[in-house]
Symmetry: C2
Subunit: 343 residues, 2 copies
């Protein structure tokens, strides 16, 4: 941890692996917007994307192929290239002294890799035996930004969550395909072929990888296991259903929670209004609640519909919306780096 420093003038060498992807590009944007102090940014990708030019800070970066040498001297390596590259390159980048912050699922459940939402458990990221910190799944991050402050006050025993997830989480090519599907849908024409397995425009899908042994999608299982690890609470029970909706960007979640002791909606609202990373958008009488369009390109998680659960006295229900490419991926990763290096 020799490269952790609070010196205000220190600048860092940052590598972004998967720089041409939707999250990789967003990481580059967020580095600039948040004025992360960089001395150099290396845009890395697989050899087939090498040489591509991508925008950065008003100029551009040329994508270099990922190699062992590419991590020499790097302070922070932000990974968003999928599990295979993360598994292969994570230990190599860490061996060069970089703090690896990995957005894939490769390392999340590794006992020696902390899984971090900075608002919830930044301290966990300070111990990283492998040199790697894992960024949680997008759906888990936004849920826990909203629920952890309540959990600390009145211990959540169970979460029932149904998601309404945008296509941007499936990558830039899926977004392009969804836009093409949307044009065909609007024109009542046949759906074009592409990476989305079925028609999403005007429809709902559940096409994540399946674990048939339990009847759950991996996206659902991630919400269970990652929540337990991040909250450090192996007993918290989670009932998840993950659904893809015809929305470009911004995941929404309908959540019911059961608590160790009763909490009113007004107590919850007061807790959430003071919580970091969260914006309460909740004036029900006036019709104010967050939608995916409201969260697009915002770093905060939005929460509304905070109300007492009519089906479970003492419990609560709420509606949580977040930009899955930002707080669900790029912003969270960079906030981890900020917390470790600038905190």
């Amino acid at each position: 941890m020799g490269n952790e420093s609070s010196r205000a003038d220190r600048k860092f060498r940052v590598a972004v692996l998967g720089a041409t992807g939707a999250v990789g590009r967003k990481m580059l944007d967020v580095l600039v917007e948040r004025r992360f102090p960089v001395s150099e940014v290396r845009a890395l990708a697989s050899p087939k994307s090498a040489g591509v030019s991508i925008p950065f800070a008003g100029g551009s970066l040329t994508v270099a192929p990922v190699t062992e040498a590419a991590f020499e001297g790097v302070d922070v390596a932000l990974f968003s290239a999928g599990s295979g590259p993360s598994r292969a390159w994570g230990p190599i980048a860490a061996s060069k002294g970089a703090i690896v912050i990995d957005n894939s699922a490769a390392w999340r459940m590794d006992a020696e890799v902390p899984l971090c939402v900075p608002e919830v458990n930044l301290a966990a990221a300070r111990e990283r035996p492998r040199g790697i910190v894992a960024n949680p799944n997008c759906s888990t991050i936004q849920m826990l930004v909203a629920l952890a402050p309540i959990h600390r006050v009145a211990r959540i025993r169970r979460i029932v969550v149904s998601t309404y997830q945008a296509i941007s989480g499936a990558g830039a090519q899926a977004v392009d395909h969804f836009r093409a599907q949307s044009r065909a849908f609007a024109a009542s024409e046949a759906m074009p072929e592409g990476p989305i397995a079925k028609q999403l425009a005007g429809n709902l899908l559940m096409e994540w990888k399946r674990d048939a042994s339990v009847g759950y999608q991996e996206e659902e299982l991630k919400m269970i296991h990652e929540t337990r690890k991040i909250l450090g609470d192996p007993e918290i029970r989670i009932s998840p259903t993950t659904v893809r909706v015809p929305v470009i960007n911004g995941h929404s979640e309908s959540i019911a929670i059961e608590l160790e002791r009763p909490m009113t909606a007004s107590e919850a609202r007061a807790i959430l209004e003071k919580a970091p990373g969260l914006r309460v958008m909740d004036d029900f009488a006036a019709g104010l609640y967050p939608t995916p369009l409201d969260c697009d390109d915002r770093d905060e998680v939005l929460v509304g519909r905070i109300r007492e659960d009519l089906g479970n006295p003492g419990g609560l229900m709420l509606w949580v919306v977040g930009d899955n490419l930002r707080k669900g991926a790029a912003t969270n990763a960079i906030q981890i780096a900020e917390g470790l290096l600038l905190g």
Copy 2:
């Protein structure tokens, strides 16, 4: 009840009030498709729609203005013109001897009006002191077609439900507006004005009437109160969140249930495979689950993702999809008439 008869050759005079609306037109279609034995069909609407010609059985009907005389000799009056006309004309049509089957919310919670899903509680519709039978809310109907068979076996104590509701439930003009929004969305143009309050294309909305005293939308409260009435179980607890999704037709529901005694997914699947009005579409390993596109223009409710609740041992989760204009409205109303007159 003198007009209930099981004589196979009997034919009935049917009036449809609200015949020009989305549900009214679907009622006319469903009467034909299900070969409901009609001697005459009267298409009725407010004076401003009178004279309009609408398709029926390969020919057409001319819409007549609703008047007291229009109900003379009518055996079955199917109402789908909104609560105001239902409140005004229901007792008049009933006084003429018609069985009034009302799709509005006007009479649903009236203690002297049965609220009926034929697969669940047809018997309740045989007692109708006011001559009126109420058709439940679309979201409630499809939920109970799927849940009532389980409730009978292992008493459901609590239902947590999040809906993914199509715009067709808001009427034909809202559908037209959504199509216009979808064209603008696909072309990245500004949203056109229309009856939908905000942008639904590429977004999610919760724009039902609000009851600010409890923080719930009326659509959510309907699911609570109607479920209790239909199941005859005032103690069943319901935690609902209703959401409009950018889908033209077909409501979907993500449901978690808590039971009086544990039930496995395979026991539930066996019960649901034998249940009336339901089609199990559930081969998780093969990626089979119902979507809104699958239910469009089908009378059955579709159910999939039947699985044990990892967050509540002994409980179950499932995904229920139904055509909200058919089983959620028109089909259910005509099935009530069939049950009472042809059963």
